[in-house]
């Protein structure tokens, strides 16, 4: 034995410690990985030894290797061994390693419960401290549940060092074990007024974190925080509180009113920039939350803006950045006040710091007006030129578009100017945002009718110019704009000065190097141009010229037919055939222009992107229902289509006995497949579904047709602007006409109504009486029942959601935290197996017994509570902003519990050890003693007491009702 020990210590002499390891790694730069794996092998050997010092040293090294990215989870058990060392030196190493590498998935973590509990109750404050620190990093739901009570006890420890750590870790406990929140909250609240500033700060910290996620539950603490804010001198605490108020004010505008004055005072008095900044931020939040109509609003805003200006003008880049950030918050609600500082913002655009430039860009968005838009954009354009080939330039580009297009081009007075800007931006090489420019060009050209002539001229110039196509599509994202240019020139070809020239430009061989989707648009719009030219030529009685154009088409289109892109190929083939056909007709001297342009008759109207979604499903139509009988599962894939055409193939389908042998079926299937494979005409031999469809009686009544006809395209309950109504009417009208046309077409197939279509076109254009330069407003609608933030806010996996509990409701018995002694006994018995079920049992027991009781009681208490609370807060909020004068803000009910809990806490913990329920009760609740019989009695008493309490406090029982109206008045 002794020999072994000696041997052990000799071995230890040669162990590397952390410094040796670090030095070794530095000396083995070339084969670092090899060296480290060698070290890990050594560490594994060291961990096998009994000497705890050796183990601790090994774990210490592992912690370092973990930081370098090596997996050390295999050593989890050894880490626990080191954690349970008796010496602080080793314990600390163990807890540090655990805090760095343990997580919820670490399975051995459940073994630590008792060790941690032991450390928490250690007489040495540093043992306790190190355990708390470690636990804060790896606490699991199980640990949180099992240790919540121990930690809660530590919140009242005599040493502030422990108290502050215990308070802080409670937040982590709440996150993992939300049930602990309500029982622990009274004590947490008490710590807000702890004599030690560190503990106080910790409590503020925890409550701020909690309140940030579920602010409404903490509104009742506002008076207390208000008191702290006006009394505390600790800037850290002040910043936290002020930030918290920023989160609370949106819920209670009266709170904001109360805050303005003390915050303003702080702004004037403080020398700490951080505090000043947070004050300004919260004042902004207050101002945003307050509805307009406050008389001294402007003074506060002016103060904020003025202070922010000082920050922005500061040479410290951090202050400049934050100043701009806060400014953008004001901008949303008070753009005028910010606009006054346009000079400053423009100046920041020239800053060398990109972050600051970006912030300034954000601000510009809200600063533009009809008057200064052109000037600001010009400035931005000059920056674009300077910022060659950077991400910042792309950002500038999107910002220019954002700024100009905001609120339906609200600030753009001259669209010719805007189109020129867009065209100018196409000169940018290598931008990623070609599609953005294209989308803008299309949007403007379609929606601003007056600009079309100009736009078409510009676009044809773009098509004509060589630079865009060059450089290949991969390198040059800007070629996307050709998509827009081609479409605009085609669609609005009547405005083209030189359509022939544009047509030639679009048929150049170089076009085939463009991406497929752009070529496809080219092909399609070439036809539109062609139609337009034909018409012009025929009207001018120049048949030769018309034939020349056709010739050009026939010559150039084959290059697209060869395209690898399916879409281009298909369209080009079609168009080529069309052109050839026209060529024949032209040779015979038949006028064709009218017919060709009829292909593209009618105007395209902009439709809201989500319009399709908004079409309500007509009553009685179930989109999920099967149109045909669903195929049974046993049917194989290749039989499915057969089922649909059941009637067509009676000979095949009908004689087949449904109970046919499996084998027989397979054989037939095989044979049929064979037959189908061998028969090249198989598909043609069966009648096409279309034809059958038309032959069927009652085609008019298929549901698809009915949607268009009978249901107004308007969503009930949606605010619909005039434009939208008009748009929809037009659409409906058009659809009706189209329907009409379809029917007519069917009826008199011979005179495929050319005159009819004409009349139709007339009616349509009559309706389209639009003012010049009008921007058709496309209402951006949300689908029904979908608010923008609706689902984003409520993530089902949000850990904070479970913490959304009513904190003012009195504590029920079942909510008590599991008591230490009791749990201890059980975990030692069989820590792994019985852990969970035991707790459940325990939780359920009292619940069952007292369910009825409690429910009744709670109902009553809640009511009373709400009233009281409401009154207290209301009273406080309605009093003059002198915190000292306000009466004690805390709810008396909770106070009572706290006081009682204190008394109870002094009693020996094990008082109720013999009795399960009693032990729990003794922990927290003053009204209930350990005996079950007593408890019931007490319950009744309590009930009565609460009733009594209520009565004398509220002189009139229906006070709740009567108090409401004045409370509302106070809101204004």
């Amino acid at each position: 034995m002794a020999l072994k020990m000696v041997k052990g210590s000799i071995d230890r002499m040669f162990d590397k410690n952390l410094q040796d390891l670090v030095r070794g790694i530095r000396n083995h730069k070339e084969d670092e990985a090899k060296y480290i794996s060698q070290c890990i092998d050594e560490i594994k050997q060291e961990l096998k030894q009994d000497n705890i010092a050796v183990k601790a040293n090994a774990v210490c090294k592992l912690t370092y290797l973990q930081m370098l990215g090596y997996d050390i989870s295999w050593a989890a058990f050894n880490i626990i061994e080191v954690m349970s060392a008796s010496k602080f030196t080793f314990k600390r190493i163990g807890y540090l390693a655990a805090s760095q590498c343990f997580h919820e998935g670490t399975d051995v973590i459940m073994l630590t419960t008792n060790q941690i509990r032991k450390d928490l109750s250690s007489p040495s404050q540093y043992d306790t401290g190190v355990a708390l620190t470690g636990l804060s990093c790896f606490v699991t739901p199980d640990l949180a549940r099992d240790l919540a009570n121990d930690i809660m006890t530590l919140m009242s420890h005599t040493k502030p060092y422990i108290r502050k750590k215990a308070v802080l870790i409670m937040y982590k406990v709440f996150l993992r074990c939300p049930e602990a929140l309500r029982p622990a909250f009274p004590r947490l609240k008490e710590k807000l007024e702890d004599p030690d500033p560190g503990v106080q700060s910790a409590a503020v910290n925890v409550i701020c974190e909690l309140a940030r996620r579920n602010p409404k539950n903490y509104l009742s603490l506002a008076p207390l925080f208000f008191k702290l804010m006006t009394s505390s001198t600790n800037n850290w605490v002040l910043i936290k509180i002020i930030k918290l108020f920023g989160a609370l004010t949106p819920l209670e505008p009266r709170l904001g009113k109360k805050l303005i004055e003390p915050l303003t005072n702080l702004i004037h008095s403080t020398s700490a920039m951080s505090l000043l900044y947070e004050c300004v931020n919260t004042v902004i939040a207050v101002l945003i939350s307050l509805s307009s109509g406050m008389p001294n609003h402007s003074a506060s805003i002016q103060l904020c803006v003025q202070k922010l200006r000082i920050l922005i003008e500061d040479s410290d880049q951090n202050l400049k950045y934050l100043g701009l950030l806060a400014m953008s918050k004001i901008l949303r609600t008070h753009p005028k006040s910010v606009q006054a500082h346009k000079d400053l913002v423009l100046q920041c655009l020239d800053d060398k710091d990109e972050s600051i430039r970006l912030r300034a860009l954000d601000l510009l968005y809200g600063m533009v007006s009809k008057k200064n838009l052109v000037e600001i954009v010009r400035k931005l354009m000059s920056h674009v030129d300077k910022a060659e080939g950077t991400a910042y330039r792309d950002e500038l580009l999107t910002k220019i578009i954002d700024i100009c297009s905001q609120c339906n081009y609200q600030h753009v007075t001259n669209f010719q100017w805007y189109v020129s800007v867009l065209v100018e931006l196409t000169q940018l090489e290598g931008t990623r945002h070609g599609h953005l420019l294209a989308a803008q060009m299309l949007d403007v050209a379609i929606r601003v009718k007056a600009i079309r002539k100009f736009a078409v001229a510009q676009m044809s110039a773009l098509l004509d110019s060589a630079h865009l196509g060059a450089g290949g599509p991969q390198r040059n994202g800007i070629c996307e704009v050709l998509y827009a240019a081609a479409w605009i020139c085609g669609e609005f070809s009547e405005h083209l000065q030189e359509p022939q020239q544009t047509l030639e430009a679009m048929l150049r061989p170089k076009v085939t190097t463009l991406p497929g989707h752009i070529q496809a648009v080219y092909v399609q719009n070439v036809v539109k141009l062609y139609a337009c030219i034909l018409q012009q030529k025929e009207q001018a009685a120049e048949p030769e010229a018309a034939q020349d154009v056709t010739q050009l088409m026939v010559e150039r289109l084959p290059q697209f037919v060869q395209s690898a892109d399916l879409e281009v190929q298909e369209r080009a083939s079609c168009v080529l055939q069309l052109a050839k056909h026209i060529q024949k007709l032209q040779a015979k001297g038949v006028p064709v222009a009218e017919e060709v342009s009829a292909l593209f008759a009618g105007e395209l109207n902009p439709v809201a992107p989500k319009a399709q979604k908004k079409v309500p499903v007509p009553e009685g139509l179930d989109l999920d229902a099967w149109i045909n009988e669903p195929p049974s599962d046993s049917e194989s894939e290749d039989e499915k289509p057969k089922a649909i055409f059941h009637d067509e193939e009676p000979r095949h389908a009908k004689p087949r006995p449904p109970e046919a042998e499996e084998e027989e079926l397979a054989r037939r299937r095989e044979a049929r497949k064979q037959e189908q494979a061998n028969n090249p005409f198989y598909i043609k031999s069966s009648p096409s579904p279309q034809k059958r469809y038309q032959d069927m009686p009652g085609v008019e009544h298929i549901p698809v047709v009915q949607i268009d006809l009978s249901v107004p395209l308007k969503v009930p309950g949606m605010p619909v602007s005039d434009q939208y109504v008009k748009l929809e009417e037009e659409r409906k009208h058009r659809q009706r006409l189209e329907k009409d046309r379809r029917r007519k077409k069917k009826k008199d197939k011979d005179q495929k109504g050319r005159p009819r279509r004409h009349s139709m076109l007339h009616t349509e254009s009559d309706e389209d009486v639009a003012p010049a330069q009008r921007v058709d407003i496309v209402t951006e609608e949300m689908p029904e029942n979908a608010l923008p933030s609706d689902e984003d806010d409520k993530d089902p996996n949000d850990p904070y959601r479970a913490l959304d509990v009513d904190l003012d409701k009195p504590l029920a018995d079942s909510e008590k935290l599991p008591v230490q002694k009791h749990r201890n006994a059980e975990t030692t018995k069989s820590p792994e197996k019985e852990d969970v079920p035991v707790v459940e049992k325990k939780m359920k027991k009292p619940r069952k017994k007292e369910k009825k009781h409690r429910e009744k009681e709670r109902g009553k208490k809640e009511k009373g509570k709400e009233e009281k609370e409401g009154e207290d807060l209301d009273f406080w909020l309605s009093t003059a902003p002198l915190p000292a004068e306000a009466p004690a803000p805390e709810e008396p009910g909770v106070d009572a519990v706290i006081a009682a809990a204190k008394e109870e806490g002094e009693e020996p913990r094990g008082a109720g050890q013999g009795d399960e329920d009693g032990a729990e009760d003794a922990e927290r609740n003053p009204e209930q003693k350990s005996s079950k019989h007593k408890k019931k009695k007490h319950k009744k008493e309590k009930e009565e007491r609460t009733k009594d309490k209520k009565k004398p406090k509220k002189q009139q029982p229906p006070a709740h009702v009567q108090l409401l109206p004045p409370r509302r008045e106070l809101l204004h």
């Binding site: 370092y64 930081m67 802080l168 560190g198």
Partner: protein, 167 residues
């Protein structure tokens, strides 16, 4: 909440990393790499904040400082005040300076455990525990004393270096 505290040198070598959110080992290394990439390409005289696409969404921001050969980076969410965190960082560095007497990169490399111990007195589980430097130093000293008294009984190997390895 503070999500992570990272210290790495000018070449992106991690010196101290403390994550207050559970991430896998790979993610941690990736975060360190990405953070270094973001921070290192910034000029010296620009602001110390970086927002945007960082760990766990847009609520997070990086607040960093560059001291000689080391970058100190705090990743925090919106509940923290940027300027306050900068101050906290200053407290941290000053505390390190006091505890190591003229701290340099080498101190952090070879005494990473001590750095963690100091950090543990300032930030706990991602929340600020103590901001008063004197208080932090007092606690650290007391713990070191405790450690020394323990070492006196059975010369633990962890302290053999105290005489060999100098700063």
């Amino acid at each position: 909440m503070i999500k992570a505290i990272l210290i790495f040198n000018n070449h992106g070598k991690p010196r101290v990393s403390k994550f207050y959110q559970p991430y896998s080992e790979d993610t941690r290394q990736q975060i360190i790499r990405e953070t270094f990439h973001l921070v290192s390409k910034r000029d010296e005289n620009v602001c110390n904040f970086l927002g945007g696409l960082l760990i766990g969404g847009s609520d997070n921001k990086l607040i960093y400082r560059h001291y000689a050969t080391l970058y100190f980076v705090f990743c925090v969410d919106s509940s923290e005040s940027e300027l306050a965190i900068l101050d906290l960082m200053q407290v941290f560095v000053e505390t390190l300076d006091k505890c190591f007497e003229n701290v340099c990169e080498l101190d952090l490399i070879s005494h990473v455990d001590k750095v963690h111990n100091i950090l543990a007195e300032m930030v706990m589980g991602g929340m600020v525990l103590e901001t008063n430097m004197n208080e932090i130093v007092t606690q650290i000293d007391a713990q070191n004393k405790l450690e020394k008294s323990e070492a006196g009984l059975a010369g633990a190997p962890a302290h053999r270096d105290a005489y060999i390895f100098s700063n």
